[in-house]
């Protein structure tokens, strides 16, 4: 792999701090991870698993105690490039209220480019484009306190976009939002990944968000436990449950049926695959008999609706 294709390269990194009693705590313990340009990577783990600490290193808000991390080719320990890194790697935080600086939406979006010393006319262009990209143009003169949580997070994303980043790190951006806000944010982030080619590092504990990623990294107690495609990760239903993480309903149903010996298929992560799996299993005869006449008359959502409700993409 060409070095230029690597966005973030974490090398045997540890982060150690002292707690109130003076004991050393390993918030991160020997983590290695490499994220390619254009990838959509989800980092999942319970509270205290070190996922946020890891993310803060990507934007040089924290420095490694051991090991090192390269972001956009710069070593984060190199003080000279801190601001270059922050310009290339934008960050969106959990609490939508505590990252909006200005009392008017468009002024807030302009905050980052203003800090970079960009000429006014160019800032204006970037702000307009960024608001357009997150579909918030009509709110540009609103006060942020009048917006919903999902809208505030989209403003925060626009604020990062206006700095023209290569990568956006989102630290549990949906933890405080309602389901509608969660969908808005996830859709926006996917759009930026696909259309603008922006590398996305998305930290969450909602599995329905994680299944939409290209790659999922599972953290626990400061250690990287698993790293793979959503399919690889979510087929380990018992492991994830043991970690205190949710898995998609379809995976869990398939897992339980497999356990009972019904061979549904090992790597099911969505409803479509569960249906196919069932039709090819021992249960097919029983389930596909002539009694399904009634089922056809029931009005039910289309596949698209189902995906929208679950927030899943089809794989």
């Amino acid at each position: 792999m060409n070095e230029k294709d690597i966005m973030i390269d974490v090398n045997h990194m540890s982060h150690i701090y002292s707690d109130e009693n003076g004991n050393d705590v390993h918030a991160l313990n020997d983590v290695s991870l490499s994220i390619k340009r254009g990838e959509f990577v989800c980092i999942i783990g319970t509270n205290g698993s070190g996922k946020s600490t890891l993310a803060k290193h990507f934007n040089v808000l924290l420095q490694p105690s051991e090991g090192y991390i390269n972001v956009c080719g710069y070593d984060t320990r190199d003080e000279e490039h801190i601001w270059d890194i922050r310009q290339h790697v934008g960050m969106v935080f959990q609490n939508p209220d505590n990252q909006i600086v200005a009392a008017v939406v468009e002024e807030d979006v302009a905050f980052g480019p203003e800090n970079l010393g960009i000429p006014s006319a160019e800032i204006r262009k970037r702000v307009d484009a960024a608001l357009e990209a997150v579909n918030m143009t009509e709110y540009r003169e609103h006060g942020p306190h009048l917006l919903s949580g999902g809208q505030k997070q989209r403003i925060a994303i626009a604020g990062v976009l206006a700095m023209k980043p290569d990568c956006i790190v989102l630290d549990e951006p949906t933890a405080m939002l309602d389901p509608k806000g969660r969908r808005e944010v996830l859709e926006t982030v996917h759009k930026l990944n696909k259309e603008e080619g922006i590398t996305i590092v998305y930290i969450t504990h909602f599995m329905e968000e994680a299944v939409t990623a290209d790659r999922v990294v599972v953290m626990k107690n400061g250690v990287k436990l698993h790293d793979g495609t959503p399919r690889e990760i979510f087929s380990h239903v018992d492991t994830l449950k043991g970690l205190g993480l949710d898995v998609p309903v379809a995976s869990e149903i398939a897992f339980k049926l497999n356990e009972k010996g019904y061979e549904i298929g090992k790597s099911i992560i969505n409803n479509e695959e569960l249906a196919v799996g069932l039709k090819h299993s021992k249960l097919a005869d029983q389930l596909l008999d002539n009694h399904n006449v009634g089922a056809k008359t029931i009005s039910s959502p289309t596949n698209e609706d189902v995906n929208a409700v679950r927030g899943e993409g089809t794989h």
């Binding site: 934007n59 808000l61 601001w83 922050r86 310009q87 934008g90 960050m91 935080f93 609490n95 209220d97 505590n98 990252q99 909006i100 600086v101 200005a102 009392a103 008017v104 468009e106 002024e107 302009a110 905050f111 980052g112 480019p113 203003e114 800090n115 970079l116 010393g117 960009i118 000429p119 006014s120 800032i123 204006r124 702000v127 003169e141 006060g143 942020p144 306190h145 604020g159 990062v160 700095m163």
Partner: protein
């Protein structure tokens, strides 16, 4: 409980006042506020009143906003009026025990109340028609010449920006905590003053903790967005002085000169 405070809020628009440069508006407001205190005759008050109303109409904002600017401060207005009414010597109009209301006192009280009302109205117009960021931009620019004597112009402006941004958020938060503590039987309204002050602890402690947490998170978010003080910073909306500013400031200076003449002639 606290959602009807509108002081310090901006209402977007495109009126003459909205288009004025914030620096011009700040200068004009400052001059006019000083000029208000020169008024000491019915004619002068009439002039000040007429000019204030003219400015209000010029802003094209609903008049109810003017009322909501005064409403939260009515206690101060009444208090000021009372002090003047009860303490100014003169010909007695009404006496009851130690209370003695004089003609002079009544006149002074009404004058002070009128001055306060005009002052509040006029300065509210400044905040109503100027977005907080432009307001702080204006202050920053006006303070910039004083940087050489150690006035942290940019830092002050940034602090004001953030304060304005978080006022609505913290008001919401106050409301929420008050309700949560009321649900646990807290009482914020009855009891002696000391008792009531004590009763505020369950409100103030969580509020401070929350404010500090917010400050902490905001500082990190600002740093992540490459904020490193005012050096080399540009602005999306550069300030520009146009003809509206000359007209606006000119009109205020004119009024002030008239008021000075009236005051000097003691009319």
């Amino acid at each position: 409980m606290l959602n009807n405070i509108t002081i310090g809020q901006y209402f977007p628009g495109n009126s003459f006042l909205h288009r004025m440069d914030p620096r011009a508006k700040i200068i004009a407001t400052t001059i006019f506020v000083v000029a208000i205190f020169l008024a000491n005759s019915p004619l002068a008050y009439g002039l000040v009143g007429a000019f204030t109303i003219f400015a209000m109409l010029l802003s094209r904002l609903p008049l109810r906003l003017m009322w909501s600017a005064i409403k939260p401060l009515w206690i101060i207005i009444v208090f000021t009026m009372g002090i003047h009414i009860f303490t100014t010597p003169g010909n007695s109009l009404f006496q009851w025990g130690v209370i003695n209301i004089t003609d002079q006192g009544l006149a002074m009280g009404l004058q002070m109340a009128a001055r306060l009302i005009f002052l509040i109205l006029f300065s509210s117009l400044l905040t109503y028609t100027t977005s907080p960021i432009r307001l702080t931009d204006g202050i920053e620019h006006l303070l910039n010449p004083f940087r050489c004597i150690g006035v942290p112009a940019h830092e002050l402006a940034m602090m004001m920006t953030i304060a304005l941004r978080f006022i609505p958020t913290l008001l919401d938060e106050t409301d929420r905590i008050m309700k949560a503590q009321s649900a646990r039987g807290a009482d914020f309204v009855t009891g002696s003053i000391i008792q009531r002050a004590k009763n505020m602890v369950p409100l103030l402690v969580p509020l401070f903790i929350s404010a500090f947490r917010r400050a902490d998170e905001l500082a990190i978010a600002m740093e992540a967005r490459c904020y490193r003080g005012g050096v080399n910073r540009t602005r999306m909306k550069e300030l520009q002085v146009t003809y509206v500013d000359y007209i606006g400031v000119g009109a205020v200076i004119l009024i002030t000169i008239v008021l000075i003449v009236l005051w000097w002639l003691d009319l």
